[in-house]
């Protein structure tokens, strides 16, 4: 697209879009396309979504179950029929159908799929969003630059980068953030803060490093900045036209995805939105249908909306969970944990689009114990490679070594970018 900034801004005003959200440096907020600094949106499917009931259906086979497939706008690509709206948008992203890992436990799997590293008893690795906000700081953003919406059990953490890079957790964005108003007039508030400085300094004597590690001062400063920030408007999703809100779906998750778009638009570096409920050890097929009713409209609307606003080229979108689910259908009509050949959607942020990677067998070798399976999809993709791809695309030096607090050097990602996804 070859549009000047001025033209874009004009278009924005003409169509009544909320382009230039207040507070942010106008020039940065209005930037579009690849001129804009990169952001990341992770849609986290907590519990582990079934690849067979999402982006890698195998209808008519022993492992496929009752799930049917539908065509998408990408020739040759079919996804599960519960995703008619995603089918209209998925060509903007890429599909990986051959992710492999060795972690079949929720906690360990979530750790790997949020950090790109297997759990290590000696340190905690930072999540993708934490690395992005650490490496790509944005002084103009007064609200937290790494945000986790709708909770979940394992929200993204700052790990060895420090807790200040933990995702700021907001359980329901439609309720806004609490306790933002001061209780006294400005001059009195200022006096209180001046005094606080004196008392804090006194406590820091002999404890400088330790008190710094508590982040007390920093969190107070950031809280103060946030209290007066006009950027809080990003949370006011009721400011969006009805037609947009309806497109995302009238669900908490839908509102979360809409808030994510507004946050990214404001300059927030990384947003994670969690949709729980995928751990379908029983009634997998019904369970996934229920889940799809929330995911389908919200994800489709998000891709469409980002594209419409020319934000997709600067926003990496990743839709993933801790693992997939067994090809074998258990006696309870359920599927169990399966880390050996599962799917994700990834794209935007200047990555190529419409690439489909990997293929899973219709009759994989199945062991009694899924954790012991040696099944392997065609063209397997290791999780660290996916992470290296995303970090590189965000503009982060993915193989940079940083010194962890225990003095051990560690790369942001141990993988190498997947060349086929790079433009």
């Amino acid at each position: 697209m070859n549009v000047t900034r001025r033209e874009l801004l004009k278009a924005a005003f003409a169509s009544g879009l909320s382009f230039a959200l207040p507070g942010l440096d106008l020039r940065a907020a209005e930037r579009r396309g690849d001129e804009r600094q990169k952001s990341l949106i992770v849609i986290w499917l907590g519990g582990g979504a079934s690849q067979l009931e999402t982006w890698d259906p195998h209808p008519g086979t022993k492992i496929g179950g009752p799930t049917q497939s539908i065509k998408t706008k990408l020739p040759g690509l079919e996804i599960a029929d519960m995703y008619p709206r995603v089918a209209e948008q998925v060509h903007e992203l890429n599909v990986i159908r051959s992710l492999v890992s060795k972690e079949g436990d929720h906690e360990r799997g979530s750790y790997l799929l949020k950090t790109g590293y297997r759990p290590d008893p000696t340190l905690i690795h930072p999540s993708l969003g934490a690395i992005a906000s650490h490496e790509l700081p944005n002084d103009k953003v007064e609200i937290p630059s790494h945000i986790s919406l709708l909770g979940g059990q394992y929200p993204a953490r700052g790990g060895f980068l420090g807790e200040m890079f933990d995702a700021f957790k907001i359980y329901d964005p439609s309720n806004g953030i609490r306790n933002l108003k001061t209780r006294v007039a400005d001059d009195r508030q200022q006096q209180r803060l001046n005094a606080l400085d004196v008392v804090s300094k006194s406590f820091q004597a002999g404890r400088r490093v330790q008190v710094e590690n508590t982040l007390h001062q920093l969190t107070v400063e950031r809280a103060l900045r946030m209290m007066t920030s006009k950027q809080l408007k990003a949370f006011e999703i009721d400011q969006e036209p009805t037609v947009i809100r309806d497109a995302y779906g009238d669900t908490q998750f839908g509102r979360g995805c809409l808030a994510a778009r507004r946050l990214v638009e404001t300059g927030v570096r990384a947003v994670e939105i969690t949709l729980m409920g995928w751990d379908t050890h029983a009634n997998n097929f019904e369970g996934h249908k229920t889940q799809a009713k929330e995911l389908d409209p919200a994800l489709a609307a998000l891709i469409h909306d980002l594209k419409q606003r020319d934000l997709l080229a600067s926003t990496v979108v990743l839709c993933i969970g801790e693992f997939g689910r067994t090809p074998k259908i258990n006696p309870l009509e359920g599927r169990d944990h399966w880390p050996r050949g599962f799917s994700c959607l990834v794209g935007g942020g200047g990555l190529r689009s419409g690439v489909v990677i990997g293929e899973t067998d219709t009759e994989p070798q199945i062991e009694q114990d899924a954790n012991k399976s040696t099944a392997m999809p065609h063209d397997p993709i290791e999780v660290p490679d996916l992470f290296a791809t995303i970090l590189r695309q965000l503009g982060v030096e993915f193989d940079k070594e940083v010194l962890t607090p225990i003095g051990r050097p560690m790369k942001f990602s141990s993988g190498s970018p997947i060349e086929r996804l790079l433009a």
Binding site: D105, P121, L180, R192, A195, L196, R208, A223, M227, N330
Partner: protein, 555 residues
């Protein structure tokens, strides 16, 4: 939903009423000097601990920091044992006490205080039954807490409590210890025997076997059938009109996840078969095995937990994921990913074994254990150091050569806020803190502040929502309001001069006197305050002290 808007107000009124009510009650003679004497003969145990640390520090080439002043230690003790800062009343009495070993005597006094029974019961209960309120009809966490509080008051031997929790029968209202098993009861599903087995091993043996429920432990030696054997001990657990009881006809069946075939599993233990008696109900047998004196895991787990509750950091973290006892021949080999915390050097004693054995040899006396820990060298150290190198400080922290800075828990913050809003001790007779914890369980403060629940001993830094809550939240604003009956109101009226005024505020909020540079800053400001603005000045000072890192962190 207009009533919802009123709710915070109603809660607040209730709090104000409670505080008022309670502060006007006469003191029950709890802190009776005669009954509340320090346990005799702890010196030898303290010496053992001190010797261990002297060697450890020397071996690690660490220089411990100097000793903290006694008021600082007093604050640590009241926060850990009673969940609040000391009251002005207590600070004054403590300072006037010129007898020897006053910290030890005051510790003993607190250990006979209702506030300790209630608060410590709540802290221990987190490990035993978690924080969930559960289904009120069949589970009464409040009764369980009252029971546990009563046990701490009677200072019963720890293994007895464990045996009663695991093996008890009866109604959860009459026999509150059975709430341990009722916490594993689910209305539709009945008792979740796997959950109970996992919980018992975590809570009492300090190890995590839970994940062996579905598959062999991914990186430890636990096997799926070992877990099933443990869970089978809860297999005859049933619920009847008379509450929890054993039904000897019940079999524990495990369903094969692939074939759906059912298989009867007999109770079995993964190690130490000889410790399990052949007599008694299945649960009694399990309880006897867990509490067998040779089962070192029991004592290791509780001393690690109590150490953690007192310091804010357990000796080995996480508190319920301990390595096997050294020299334990029972355990199989560990595989990739296993933890090796605090690797022992040749010939060095394992600290949990050392303190655990001491605990066992002295009658499994929790009160004594606490006295030993708070009297030992590491607890008395400063949280300050000249060392500015992060790595070196981390090393010191790991080996407790410096008192760790840890974040106060939400109810410690509330307890301290409340205590600082009163000049006299918010009286122990009232169970105020425990009532308050209950009152606020559903309260926004604890929720927003972020209750870590069972993971409360995880090392976490402060967060923005917490800062917002302290600065702008309802509770803080109402607590510092200088009304006639609040401390801030009374201080502003009764302090004879600015110096005294400042000192009182500092003592009440931070348990110390202002430093010279603080006095230099505040006194000139206070001089300018007109008499009618006095109340406002005290509110501002209170706000400042409440929002300082010093208030929100244990140091």
């Amino acid at each position: 939903m207009r009533w919802k808007l009123l709710l915070p107000g109603v809660v607040l009124l209730a709090i104000i009423w409670l505080v008022n009510f309670v502060t006007q009650q006469p003191l029950k003679g709890i802190a009776n000097e005669k009954t509340a004497r320090p346990t005799v003969g702890i010196d030898e145990s303290v010496q053992k601990v001190n010797t261990f640390f002297a060697r450890r520090w020397a071996g690690e080439e660490l220089q411990p920091v100097s000793t903290a002043d006694e008021l600082t230690v007093l604050r640590r003790i009241t926060l850990a044992l009673m969940g609040t800062v000391p009251s002005l009343e207590e600070i004054r009495a403590f300072e006037q006490d010129s007898g020897p070993d006053r910290l030890q005597r005051w510790t003993a006094r607190f250990l006979h205080d209702q506030r300790y029974f209630d608060y410590f019961a709540e802290r221990l209960a987190r490990g035993f039954v978690g924080v969930e309120g559960g289904q009120f009809i069949v589970y009464r966490r409040d009764r369980f807490l009252n029971w546990l509080s009563g046990q701490l008051e009677a200072n019963r031997q720890y293994p007895e409590l464990v045996r009663e929790m695991i093996g008890g029968n009866g109604l959860w209202t009459d026999e509150p210890e059975v709430n341990f098993v009722m916490a594993g009861y689910d209305d539709g599903e009945g008792f979740n025997k796997n959950k109970l087995a996992g919980r018992a091993v975590r809570a009492f043996l300090g190890q995590r076997i839970d994940c062996a429920q579905c598959h062999d432990h991914p990186f430890d030696h636990w096997k799926q059938n070992e877990f099933a054997g443990l869970a089978a001990h809860f297999g005859q657990l049933t619920l009847s009109a008379v509450g929890v009881r054993e039904d000897r006809d019940l079999k524990f069946e495990v369903e094969d996840r692939n074939t759906l075939e059912k298989k009867v599993v007999e109770p079995a233990v993964p190690f130490g078969d000889q410790w399990e008696p052949t007599k008694g109900t299945h649960r009694e047998r399990l309880a006897a095995w867990i509490t067998h004196p040779e089962n070192r895991r029991l004592e290791r787990a509780i001393v690690n937990r109590v150490w953690g509750l007192l310091f804010g950091r357990s000796w080995i973290e996480p508190v319920d994921d301990l390595p096997d006892p050294p020299g334990d021949q029972i355990a199989g080999p560990k595989v990739e990913g296993a933890k090796h915390p605090k690797t022992l050097k040749d010939g060095e004693a394992d600290f949990l074994d050392l303190l655990g054995a001491d605990f066992r040899e002295h009658g499994y006396d929790l009160r004594r254990l606490i006295e030993v820990i708070v009297t030992s060298k590491p607890f008395l150290l400063e949280s300050k150091s000249d060392v500015e190198d992060s790595q070196r400080l981390g090393h010191m922290k790991e080996h407790f050569a410096i008192f760790p800075l840890t974040r106060l828990r939400p109810e410690q913050i509330i307890g301290s806020l409340l205590q600082a809003s009163s000049l006299t001790t918010i009286d122990q007779n009232s169970h105020l803190i425990s009532r308050f914890i209950k009152l606020t369980r559903s309260n926004d403060f604890v929720k927003e502040y972020g209750d870590l629940g069972e993971n409360e001993l995880e090392d976490r830094a402060g967060t923005i929502p917490q800062a917002l809550l302290r600065m702008n939240g309802n509770l803080v604003s109402e607590t510092i309001d200088a009304k006639p009956f609040t401390a801030s109101g009374r201080i502003s009226q009764m302090a004879p001069n600015d110096e005294k005024f400042l000192e009182l505020c500092y003592l009440v909020c931070l348990t110390r006197r202002p430093a010279a540079e603080e006095a230099d800053y505040f006194l000139p400001l206070l001089k300018q305050v007109q008499p009618k603005r006095r109340a406002q000045a005290v509110e501002d000072l209170y706000w400042t002290l409440f929002n300082s890192p010093e208030f929100a962190w244990n140091h």
